[in-house]
């Protein structure tokens, strides 16, 4: 209470000015902070969407690669060789041996379906018992910089290839994958990966 009475003395004249200056500076600071925050939020969002796109790309590619590594090379269909390509691949995998006979797993298919574009994995496709899992929704309709114009735009030897395409060369399968998604402010984020795997069975 002693402190309280001490302060009171002679302070009345400064209050308004003090408040005005304080408020002005505070307003400036607040505005600044808000601006920084907004821009950083934007950057954060962009970073987030890019990161999750990267993650999705890695994960989808790893899943496809691993599925095809275990595939039997004789079962790959349609298995076109470059410059032809397919947007789907049907295969089966060896599951080991039982009672002296090789056990072959169910037929599986990895496919890019359109409207809207999705990459799906199907177990026992084209049967009544079909099981379908969507691996990603962010796939691009065409690969990388490819346009549907009958020309090999990205000069990789394939014409008008889709966002997911397979080419087969002996026991090797080359997988080309482009994912895309909407970023902040209606930008479009795009990522591409290409890899080759060897069928081990």
């Amino acid at each position: 209470m002693k402190l309280c009475s001490n302060r009171m003395r002679g302070s009345a004249g400064f209050t308004v000015l003090e408040i005005v200056i304080a408020l002005t500076i505070l307003a400036m600071v607040a505005a600044n902070v808000l601006m920084v925050e907004r821009s950083s939020t934007k950057a954060f969002e962009a970073g987030t969407s890019m990161s999750s796109l990267d993650m999705q790309l890695e994960r989808t590619m790893d899943r496809i690669a691993l599925a095809l590594m275990a595939a039997r090379k004789d079962s790959l269909a349609p298995g076109s060789a470059a410059p032809l390509w397919d947007k789907k691949v049907t295969f089966d995998q060896s599951k080991g041996f039982e009672d002296g006979n090789e056990v072959i797993g169910d037929t599986e298919r990895i496919e890019l379906i359109s409207g809207p574009e999705q990459i799906v994995w199907k177990q026992r496709p084209d049967t009544t018992d079909e099981r379908k899992v969507v691996w990603t929704n962010w796939v691009r309709e065409y690969f990388k910089d490819e346009l549907p114009n009958g020309v090999d735009d990205d000069l990789n030897g394939l014409t008008d290839e889709a966002g997911l395409s397979f080419t087969v060369d002996g026991n090797r399968v080359t997988i080309r994958l482009t994912l895309e998604r909407e970023g902040p402010n209606h930008t479009v984020l795009k990522r591409t990966q290409e890899t080759t795997v060897t069928c081990r069975n």
Binding site: L3, L17, F44, G47, T198
Partner: protein, 200 residues
């Protein structure tokens, strides 16, 4: 500074020193808020600058991560290409020498390979970021090479002995090191993948 001290002092201390402060502070009261604001501004600036530096470093880090992902994919691709071929020809196909290429001299891809999306290091003479390494002394595939990461020295031709002969023609097991070296956003980086192939 005084104001600051006052604010930061614990209640007991401020009570004790309040007598002397009264005299000092009374004439310059308008400045207190300014100092206060300066301190606030300083704190805010620090906070914001820290935040923005975090942003920058995060962006750089994610770029570095992306580079590593590209390198890993490139290395896997090289490994899978080797896996698809018969083990007998791997050494001749991917070693430094082009004279022993299985399809005739100069026909094999050799030691180096391209990884698109990565920048060459300064002073990289061969012009490729990727390379495939075997346990060799010059061009000879040797069992007595010391390289713990590849499990060397060790027997490679299945005779249970480690000798100093060239086993390029009769190896049964072939240790492989795929190395990618590039110039990243924050310095030189390298990525390594190791494997062994066996004749069947």
């Amino acid at each position: 500074m005084t104001r600051c001290e006052f604010l930061l002092l614990p209640p007991m201390m401020s009570k004790i020193s309040s007598g002397s402060m009264k005299r000092l502070r009374a004439p310059s009261r308008a400045g207190f808020s300014m100092i206060e604001l300066m301190v606030v501004l300083a704190i805010l600036t620090m906070g914001v600058s820290m935040f923005s530096s975090t942003l920058v470093s995060t962006a750089r880090q994610s770029q570095a991560k992306r580079e590593i992902a590209i390198a890993a994919e490139g290395a896997r691709r090289a490994m899978e290409l080797m896996r698809s071929q018969s083990c007998e020809i791997l050494f001749a196909t991917y070693n430094e020498s082009s004279a022993d290429d299985p399809g005739g001299a100069g026909t094999a891809p050799g030691k180096h390979f391209v990884v698109t999306g990565l920048t060459l290091r300064d002073g990289d003479k061969d012009g490729f970021v990727g390379e495939i390494l075997f346990p060799t002394v010059e061009t000879a595939l040797r069992e007595d090479v010391v390289d713990t990461v590849l499990g060397m020295p060790r027997d490679l031709d299945g005779d249970n002995q480690v000798d100093n002969a060239n086993h390029a023609a009769n190896y049964v097991l072939l240790p492989v090191h795929v190395r990618i070296q590039w110039k990243g956003v924050s310095g030189d980086v390298s990525f390594d993948l190791y494997n062994q192939f066996v004749k069947q």
